[in-house]
């Protein structure tokens, strides 16, 4: 299907969703590794991605409400809990591992929906979703390498390769959009990879710009509202084809709006600035990971 690229003059039409192609790229290595090793962590991540993909695809074809989408993505956490492919402890810098036997499964239950929907919300400019996922996957690869879990390197590596391939087509000017099926599975895969590879704290730090963006959207619109239902757009396109911040007090104060507040700028520059924030938070995540080895 074709949708309007709102941040371009002349209302150019862009195809979406790229979700099915991203899905194949993510699950093919996982199911192959499961058949070769019979290790349940590959099956769990395959099922997480598949469940969230179905939810995303339904949302692409028939728009789901923001709350229903959030609630349904909780189902994506279930394979990790059923197969027990998690370690109920969190590693912190300087003090090491802390046991969370009862609380950890609850954290697993909320991680997949929160991460998947936060990644979905970062899809604001051409290339921000794919670029952010590429940076996040690369930082998780380095973090996993530092933590010494070499057997789990395949998860961030798969996400990195798929996100990078998608970035080539999704970067400014986009030739395809991810759609909800694409963005939700990238987020769910990152969340599942974080849990299985035991990189919770550093991955969460790398993820800070997405957390801030998601939280600021929720705080502005006061709840889980589908983005099509937001009445006042935070960003407007001026007559020169540049992005300009809306001065309306009713428009949500999002990360994308704060980025453009420096003055009218092209979508390319705005997207680069968001990716710079992800690169910076990823650097902080790698520093945290190094402190954990201290």
């Amino acid at each position: 299907m074709l949708v309007i690229d709102f941040h371009k003059k002349g209302s150019s039409m862009i195809p979406k969703p790229a979700g099915p192609a991203i899905f194949v790229g993510l699950v093919f290595p996982m199911i192959s590794l499961y058949l070769l090793t019979l290790d349940l962590k590959y099956l769990a991540i395959f099922l997480v991605t598949s469940i969230v993909f179905i939810i995303g695809l339904v949302d692409d074809l028939r728009i789901l409400s923001g709350f229903l989408k959030m609630a349904l993505t909780i189902l994506g956490s279930i394979p990790i809990l059923i197969f027990g492919t998690y370690t109920p402890s969190i590693v912190l810098p300087f003090i090491g591992s802390t046991r969370l036997t009862i609380v950890y499964p609850l954290m697993v239950l909320i991680t997949i929906p929160v991460v998947a929907n936060a990644i979905n919300m970062i899809d604001v400019y051409n290339g921000t979703l794919s670029g952010a996922c590429t940076i996040l996957a690369f930082s998780q690869f380095i973090i996993t390498l530092i933590s010494g879990n070499f057997g789990d390197l395949v998860f961030p590596l798969t996400l990195f390769m798929v996100s990078l391939a998608f970035y080539i087509f999704n970067k400014y000017p986009s030739r395809i959009f991810a759609g909800d099926s694409g963005s939700l599975i990238l987020g769910a895969f990152f969340g599942a990879s974080t849990i299985i590879s035991r990189t919770e704290i550093p991955s969460l730090i790398a993820f800070l710009p997405a957390i801030l963006n998601g939280f600021y959207i929720l705080a502005s619109i006061k709840g889980f509202v589908e983005h099509r239902q937001i009445k006042e757009r935070p960003i407007i396109l001026n007559e020169n084809g540049l992005l300009e911040v809306s001065k309306s007090r009713h428009a949500p104060i999002t990360l994308a709006r704060l980025i453009v507040a420096d003055g009218p700028m092209s979508e390319y520059i705005a997207a680069r600035r968001i990716l710079f924030l992800f690169a910076y938070s990823s650097l902080l995540a790698i520093i945290t990971s190094l402190l954990m080895r201290w």
Binding site: L92, V245, D262
Partner: protein, 78 residues
């Protein structure tokens, strides 16, 4: 100061405060001893631990919201 620098400072602040909050939750609140080993005490202390952790997390989010509003006042609504 442009907003990109403000957002970099916001992320740095979030990083430091998030680690600090994690230490308080995982070192102080979670291992807090149960007065006696009765079922009621275990449940009550468990609930209190979750409530305290949630309050701390909400305070962290509130702090980030105040900072966002400050950045918005300095840039969007100046």
């Amino acid at each position: 100061m442009n907003n990109l620098i403000r957002l970099i400072l916001l992320i740095t602040f979030s990083w430091i405060t998030f680690l600090f909050m994690s230490y308080i939750i995982l070192i102080v609140i979670v291992p807090f001893p149960i007065p006696s080993n009765t079922f009621l005490d275990r449940v009550l202390v468990g609930i209190i631990k979750v409530v305290f952790s949630a309050i701390l997390f909400l305070l962290w989010l509130l702090l980030l919201l105040i900072l966002r509003n400050y950045i918005a006042i300095k840039s969007i609504f100046k």
